[in-house]
């Protein structure tokens, strides 16, 4: 067991974890942060995407011990003071989700994409979301949502 200190969605946690524990399992099983989900076992789907010190990572591809001393933001910590993040709001407005399983990862990735490139072209959005799979929407409305969020941020 290894002791880690990690801040998740603004709350500090101190836990002993098995070194092999994946960050996503730590979040879900130890902290009850079930908003972040597991969709595959090859880090292809991106459903588990969270921010580690403000940058998107696939939390199935990060060990919990690697988060020691760092800050994690999940979908559950994105809204501030009851106000949805602009990307969350845009996903709702543009009907960019159906079953919603990919949505947490998709939103976290979209936020990261817009942090890096506040005015992306459609092509840049599509490439920026390439690591996140959605089976319901055909991506059409997800792209619209990211465009909408980008426009709203200006």
């Amino acid at each position: 067991m290894t002791r880690i200190n990690v801040t998740v969605d603004g709350v500090s946690y101190s836990d002993d974890v098995e070194p092999r524990t994946l960050l996503v399992h730590y979040l879900r099983e130890r902290l009850g942060k079930t908003g972040t989900v597991v969709g595959c076992d090859t880090s292809n789907c991106g459903a588990c995407t969270v921010h580690l010190d403000g940058q998107s990572v696939k939390s199935c591809n990060v060990l919990a011990v690697q988060a020691d001393g760092r800050a994690v933001t999940t979908i559950e910590g994105l809204a501030q003071d009851g106000q949805l993040h602009a990307v969350q709001q845009a996903f709702h407005e543009c009907h960019a989700l159906q079953c919603g399983f990919c949505t947490p990862g998709m939103i976290m990735q979209a936020v990261d994409l817009l942090n890096e490139n506040p005015n992306p072209s459609e092509e840049e959005i599509r490439l920026g979301l390439e690591g996140n799979l959605c089976r319901c929407t055909g991506y059409h409305n997800i792209v619209r949502a990211v465009q909408t969020a980008a426009g709203g941020a200006q």
Partner: protein
């Protein structure tokens, strides 16, 4: 899109692009997926799966696994053979269908690579998985039936004890059914004096690949055993658990919480559900099992997997005269819940929108040593639509006319509805001309044809292909009487309840079980209009058999057209129940009571009482007319009178780099007629997602097995679910001919995009390659296959088409020449 415009009186909500009620919890991570559930003392499962496609289990040593840390038990098929129940086939398509018994855990023989042969129960999922590695299984490998065509010849038996791989032969003949003529006569005539198009197409094996892996939790600690499952079918699941495991139905509660997509892939009763059920009953503890993605791809049911031998007869002027369809369908190693019924759902759709005077269909279902197949978005109808839309393009090419022209010549005209087809269905409404005209304009059809011509003439290395699909489909499953005639094991009705709460709020209980479709929003819109209450005041409950006690769940684009009609009828009953109470309170005759926009008024006066006040009056019961029940709550069970027939015209343009075989989609236009639209936002979303799944079949996805029967596309590295970077934005529009078979005039939309798009894309690919003499490229149309088709001058991938269709000796090895 704005939501502020006030629609016409009485339809304030229907047609409104309401943002979904479901979204809030999904965009903030406050979700209830099955895998999120944690119960006190919960145990976890890991499956031990066969690495062999076909093998005798000669021994299982579980001793090392049993002594691993925190392992509670290890169970093999032999240990539980008497108590594990079986997995049912609900649709034996013929009386003499051959079907192996399907045990949840294989007892003495593994029949596909991925089948469960033992299960480890441990205190954590990680410990269960660790211990599963320690289970030592001795196998004696058996020859495996893998290739569909070879399996159909019984060269190697998937189940030696059955003596054959042939499960069922199902036939429809329009001459026998009295719905049309003799197709052989039409073919003979065409062979001598007309045009005969003979083709063989492959429907590759696909994987539904819903994003939420299947998960199941069973809690045996209450008076009722409770199962949470990531399923499309909680009600059917409850029935099947009772029917096959000996637990009374009244002691079973099934809950489908938030479910992350299904696409038919969760229309199943699974070995994993039965094993979790068993483990919970054995241990007396709550038990959870969540599959990995690899397990999901390997052992969750697959879809499609057919060979289609097709003969279309026509006159020289392009009028179709007959269609003969001969299918081989791969069931995999068991006949699954709907199983052989999937190709039968396609049987009525090959004739599509065209006026064939003669039709013959047959399907031979075949057992193989591969993952079982079952419903995948469209289920039978994409296969049919692909075949006919490809054939219509081939006919157009043969005659040298535009593919839209040949369709128009043969389709049912709008004034001919209702129209009884050669397959015996009555299409209630449609307007193929209108949808096509709109699509043509939106697409810029003539301009793109001109560009195609220019590129061909200039020898541009990047060629343009234009693909057409003028599809219809049958959905809204289904009239119970028809299902009975087809030997399906259940009905096709749906149930709804409307509860009028004393505070004026409304609870709606539906028997449909949404997993992404937005029923909470759409059903609220329907009830808001019907009862004149606020959209926000309606709460839609579903997916828990203790709350929604009656239903047949969601699949086959049935929820709105069947479940929505049940809801309309339940709401109308509320109004009828309220009228005597309104009359009493208003001191008027019931005959004078009018209901409009949520208020009961007295004809010719300005007196009125709101429906919410009547709900409160019923609740207190203080002042009701004599003999009137103190409630407005109502329910309805609706059995549809017909299927639903959405249609549309889809046009696709692709650019093909003839030097590399690379395909780039340039434009995709879909004009769908789904009747009256309840929520345009949701409908568009259904079409977008459907399109991409159909396009993915055309271009990317295929479940591939190696020569040993191992699924080699068993991860998202190898199974190519498209990404945002692979796809484009779509151009959608609608025409609307209201359905005449339900009150709202709606038609199904869940599967339409998938059904329509596959042939549109392949037609576009082939269209681009026609100058090279190419008539077919097998799906998925990979750059390699396209490049080879170009290099082969059309010979290789189209080998099947040149062959005499009914010469069996020539058919035997036709697959060898096709481009793999």
């Amino acid at each position: 899109m704005t939501v502020t415009e006030a629609p016409a009186e009485g339809t304030r909500e229907i047609g409104n692009a309401r943002r979904r009620k479901e979204d809030q919890r999904l965009i903030t991570g406050r979700t209830k997926w099955t895998d999120n559930i944690q119960l006190p003392g919960m145990l976890h499962l890991a499956m031990v799966r066969s690495p062999f496609a076909h093998a005798k289990i000669t021994g299982i040593d579980t001793s090392a696994a049993k002594t691993a840390p925190n392992v509670v038990a290890v169970l093999t098929g032999k240990d539980v053979a008497e108590e594990q129940g079986v997995l049912a086939n609900a649709w034996p398509i013929t009386a003499d269908q051959v079907a192996p018994v399907h045990p949840p855990i294989a007892v003495d023989r593994a029949t596909f690579a991925g089948e469960v042969v033992a299960v480890v129960i441990a205190r954590s999922a990680a410990e269960a998985r660790d211990a599963a590695e320690l289970v030592d299984v001795d196998y004696e490998e058996l020859p495996a039936a893998l290739d569909l065509k070879e399996a159909a010849e019984d060269k190697v038996l998937a189940h030696p004890d059955l003596g054959t791989n042939k499960s069922a032969l199902w036939v429809f003949n329009s001459a026998d059914a009295g719905t049309g003529g003799n197709v052989e006569e039409a073919i003979d005539e065409a062979r001598q004096n007309g045009v005969l198009i003979e083709r063989e197409y492959r429907q590759q094996r696909l994987i539904p690949a819903f994003m939420e892996p299947r998960s199941v939790v069973v809690d045996p600690t209450g008076e009722q055993l409770t199962m949470w499952s990531a399923t499309q079918i909680p009600h059917i699941l409850r029935y099947l658990l009772a029917a096959t495991t000996g637990v009374p139905e009244s002691k079973i509660r099934v809950i489908a919480p938030d479910v992350g997509g299904g696409f038919g892939g969760k229309l199943q009763s699974t070995p994993e559900e039965w094993i979790t059920w068993l483990a919970a009953r054995r241990t007396g503890k709550p038990v959870k099992y969540t599959e990995t993605r690899s397990e999901s791809l390997m052992a969750g049911h697959h879809g499609r997997d057919q060979w289609q031998r097709l003969t279309l007869a026509a006159t020289k002027d392009g009028t179709v005269t007959g269609l003969k369809v001969d299918l081989l369908a791969d069931l995999g190693s068991y006949v699954s819940l709907v199983g052989g019924g999937v190709p039968v759902l396609g049987a009525f759709m090959f004739n599509a929108i065209y006026k064939f005077p003669a039709y013959h269909f047959q399907v031979q279902t075949v057992l193989t040593n591969k993952t079982w197949t079952d419903a995948y978005r469209g289920a039978g109808r994409p296969e049919a639509t692909f075949a006919i839309e490809r054939l219509m393009d081939e006919l157009a090419d043969e005659l040298g006319v535009d593919p839209l022209e040949i369709r128009e010549k043969n389709w049912i005209k709008h004034e001919e509805f209702p129209f009884t087809t050669v397959a015996g269905l009555e299409y209630d409404s449609g307007n193929y001309e209108a949808a096509t005209a709109k699509a043509r304009e939106l697409f810029g059809y003539d301009e793109l044809r001109a560009e195609q011509k220019r590129r061909r003439e200039s020898g541009d290395p990047v060629q343009l292909g234009i693909g057409v699909s003028t599809f219809t489909e049958m959905c809204g499953l289904a009239p119970s009487r028809v299902l009975g005639q087809l030997s399906y094991g259940a009905g096709g009705w749906e149930h709804a309840s409307v509860r009028m709460l004393p505070t004026g709020k409304v609870e709606v209980v539906t028997g449909t079980s949404p997993h992404g479709q937005g029923h909470e929003t759409a059903w609220s819109q329907i009830v808001a209009d019907r009862l004149g209450v606020a959209f926000e005041d309606v709460e839609v409950l579903h997916g828990d058999t203790q709350i929604s006690h009656k239903g047949l769940d969601s699949y086959g684009s049935r929820s709105l057209v069947v479940g929505g009609e049940a809801l309309v009828r339940a709401a109308d009953k509320v109004v009828e129940k309220a009228k005597p109470i309104a009359a009493h309170l208003l001191e008027a005759s019931v005959d004078d009571i009018e209901f409009k926009d949520g208020t009961f008024g007295v004809r010719g006066t300005d007196k009125g009482v709101a429906i919410g006040e009547l709900a409160a009056a019923a609740f207190t019961g203080h002042n009701l007319p004599d003999g009137v029940e103190p409630t407005l709550d109502s329910d309805a069970t609706y059995d549809p009178v017909n299927f639903s027939y959405p249609h549309g015209t889809h046009l696709c343009a692709v650019e093909i780099d003839t030097e590399t075989g690379g395909v780039k989609m340039r434009k995709y236009v879909a004009v769908d007629d789904v009747g009256v639209v309840v929520n345009p936002l949701i409908v568009e979303g259904q079409v977008h997602g459907g399109l991409v799944q159909g396009i993915a079949q055309a271009l990317w996805e295929e479940a591939v097995h190696d020569e040993f029967g191992t699924l080699v596309s068993a991860s998202f590295v190898d199974y190519l679910v498209p990404t945002a970077a692979d796809t484009i934005s779509f151009d959608l529009d609608h025409t609307s001919t209201p359905s005449t078979t339900n009150s709202l005039g709606t038609k199904g939309v869940g599967e339409a995009g998938t059904i329509a798009s596959t042939p549109a894309v392949v037609n576009a690919v082939v269209d681009a390659l026609r100058p090279w003499g190419v008539h077919d490229v097998r799906m998925p149309c990979t750059p390699e296959r396209i490049w080879k088709a170009i290099q082969g001058g059309g010979k290789e991938p189209t080998e099947g088409e040149a062959m005499p269709h009914f010469d069996e000796s020539a058919v035997a090895d036709r697959s060898k020449g096709a481009v793999e």
